[in-house]
């Protein structure tokens, strides 16, 4: 209201139509951010707080019983579901390390080694498109490649390399890892690529002029300066990995049960507190990984510079 009257008095031409003066006076920048933050907290923060609290409640006859209980957590531990959490963490971390090892050299080459701009744009386009692809259909195709009568086994047998099909290719942990590899590569490459691309070529040139070998330049110049990007890459790869459910469901064949599948099946069986507890585990494990990551990298960089690297 105050802003409205103030602009009325200072309006240069009083003959402007009323609707336009109203538009002039409404200052969206003052209103927009608080309103947005309030509704965003309601949509994003509140549900996360609710699931943590909800895991201590019970549902009886489709009604929530608002009496705190540890039953859900006790049954989770008794039924051996904690093994699922360990497996999820193990597969998530393994895949993150694999992606990092694959992505770092590639990102370094893309940012500094690739001279052709056209080629660079093509690769970046190819890496962007997967963000917008439907998950189920591109994962289920692996069945026809990895299955016992799939493309690989058919090829191997017709070439006479094996007599019987290799059965661990599909419906195994190997298949799940395999399926996760392609899906989570771009999220690792992009942040690393951006942080390396930001490094001034002069630093690298200076390092070489001063006589440093490639390994020394890599460890003393490039790695420290790319660290924010590496951290961002790890975060953005680990987050979706901790709740992957399409790949384990379609390629694990029921042998590889991860937290994501457990949440899914708990919700389908209307076990809401169990689903809430499992989701809490996902968030807690992620938080743990993030804290470790921050502690490891705190010496060199704060989180703020990480966001600067993403924002570029």
């Amino acid at each position: 209201m105050t802003s409205l009257s103030r602009s009325d008095t200072s309006a240069p031409s009083p003959r402007r139509p009323f609707a336009k003066r109203l538009l002039d006076g409404l200052s969206p920048s003052r209103l927009a951010v608080p309103v947005f933050l309030l509704s965003w907290s309601f949509l994003v923060l509140a549900p996360l707080v609710v699931i943590v609290l909800f895991s201590f409640l019970q549902v009886k006859a489709y009604r929530v019983v608002y009496v705190p209980t540890l039953d859900t957590w006790v049954s989770l531990i008794d039924s051996g579901r904690w093994m699922t959490a360990v497996r999820t963490l193990r597969i998530g971390l393994t895949m993150t390390v694999i992606e990092l090892l694959l992505a770092f050299p590639f990102a370094l080459w893309l940012a500094k080694g690739c001279k052709s701009k056209t080629f660079k744009s093509v690769i970046i386009t190819l890496l962007t498109i997967p963000f917008f692809l439907d998950a189920s259909s591109r994962i289920i195709v692996w069945r026809s490649i990895l299955g016992t009568n799939g493309a690989i086994n058919t090829a191997l047998m017709s070439l006479g390399i094996t007599d019987s099909p290799i059965d661990w290719l599909l419906y195994s942990e190997f298949a799940v890892h395999f399926g996760l590899l392609g899906t989570h590569f771009p999220t690792m490459v992009f942040p690393i690529f951006m942080s390396i691309a930001l490094i001034d070529d002069d630093y690298i040139q200076a390092s070489q002029d001063l006589g440093a070998g490639p390994a020394q330049t890599l460890f003393n110049i490039i790695l420290p300066m790319a660290l924010p990007g590496i951290v961002a890459g790890i975060v953005f790869t680990l987050v979706p990995l901790m709740a992957a459910f399409v790949e384990p469901q379609l390629l694990g064949g029921g042998f590889v049960d991860l937290l994501g599948n457990s949440v899914n099946s708990a919700l389908q069986q209307l076990k809401y507190p169990t689903a809430a507890a499992l989701s809490t585990v996902v968030v807690a494990l992620l938080g743990l990984c993030l804290v470790v990551l921050i502690l490891v990298t705190r010496k060199r960089h704060d989180m703020a510079s990480m966001f600067m690297a993403i924002r570029r």
Partner: protein, 284 residues
């Protein structure tokens, strides 16, 4: 300490200089290229194979022969995929429009704040929470705590939570490059706030806003983990695909041909769009 390591380094450098510069670096580049090709193959071979196998008599076997158009005929005869496709199209359009609007209004305000860090962190928070967790959390919050009836509106909210942070990033990147002195100059020349926004800010923000719209549409169009829990009784195309892929083996051929058709339409569009976007961003 540092002087000691420096002298050590210098001694080592003298020894390793020649062969490390010549030998290692080329091997390194080859390795990097191989890694990239392998990873890109892991992304694009399934898409290629999907298109090939959509012409196969039994898509889940390893051999595409004999080639047949049966899957496409079956797709044409079975109309059950049409309503989910239609829902997905208009819902994604709506998500895109709302994303464009919110991201523009809020994004440009954030860049004018003195300390935007906390606000940006809260805005981007959904990127740090797995989709499935967001879906489950929103489901429990809306369905069992607030006891609301889920439907299209809850899918919309779930997809908005996913798409908006990306759109906001895009606007923030462009808006943070905007020179605020331009607005001051316009004000001195007597332009009203609305004119200042429409005639000066808007043309600069426009590529970011269009980008946000396209990002919003594509992200929402393929969103699965959140929609899956928030669907109520509604079905979008990714939910339809997931249901076909996860449960009924006999229905798999349909999603092979359906996805191939959708990819044939969207891949060239996406390719052209990102090409233009990256080339433009590179030049600016």
């Amino acid at each position: 300490m540092s002087t000691m390591t420096l002298t050590q380094d210098r001694a080592e450098r003298a020894q390793t200089k020649r062969h490390s510069r010549l030998g290692q670096s080329t091997g390194w580049i080859t390795l990097a290229k191989v890694f990239g090709v392998v990873a890109l193959a892991m992304i694009y071979i399934p898409l290629l194979w999907l298109a090939v196998m959509s012409f196969a008599a039994s898509p889940l076997s390893g051999v595409p022969f004999p080639l047949t158009l049966d899957n496409y005929r079956q797709l044409g005869g079975d109309g059950r995929w049409l309503p989910p496709l239609w829902t997905s199209v208009w819902l994604s359009g709506l998500v895109a429009l709302v994303c464009m609007l919110i991201a523009t209004v809020v994004g440009r305000s954030i860049t004018r704040m003195r300390r935007p860090g906390g606000v940006i962190l809260l805005t981007l928070l959904p990127l740090f929470v797995p989709g499935l967790t967001t879906g489950a959390a929103l489901f429990i919050f809306l369905r069992t705590i607030l006891e609301l009836k889920l439907g299209i509106w809850s899918i919309f909210l779930g997809q908005l939570v996913w798409a908006l942070p990306f759109c906001m990033l895009l606007i923030l990147v462009i808006a943070s490059r905007f020179d605020l002195r331009l607005l001051e100059a316009a004000e001195d020349l007597g332009a009203s706030p609305w004119r200042r926004f429409w005639d000066i800010e808007m043309p600069i923000l426009r590529p970011g806003i269009f980008g946000a719209g396209i990002f919003g549409f594509l992200l929402s169009f393929n969103e699965l983990p959140r929609s899956l829990f928030l669907r109520g009784l509604e079905t979008t195309l990714p939910i339809y695909n997931w249901a076909m892929a996860a449960s009924q083996q006999s229905q798999v051929p349909i999603i092979f041909s359906l996805t191939t058709i959708i990819l044939a339409v969207t891949l060239p569009v996406m390719g052209a769009f990102f090409w233009v976007l990256f080339v433009k961003l590179d030049k600016s």
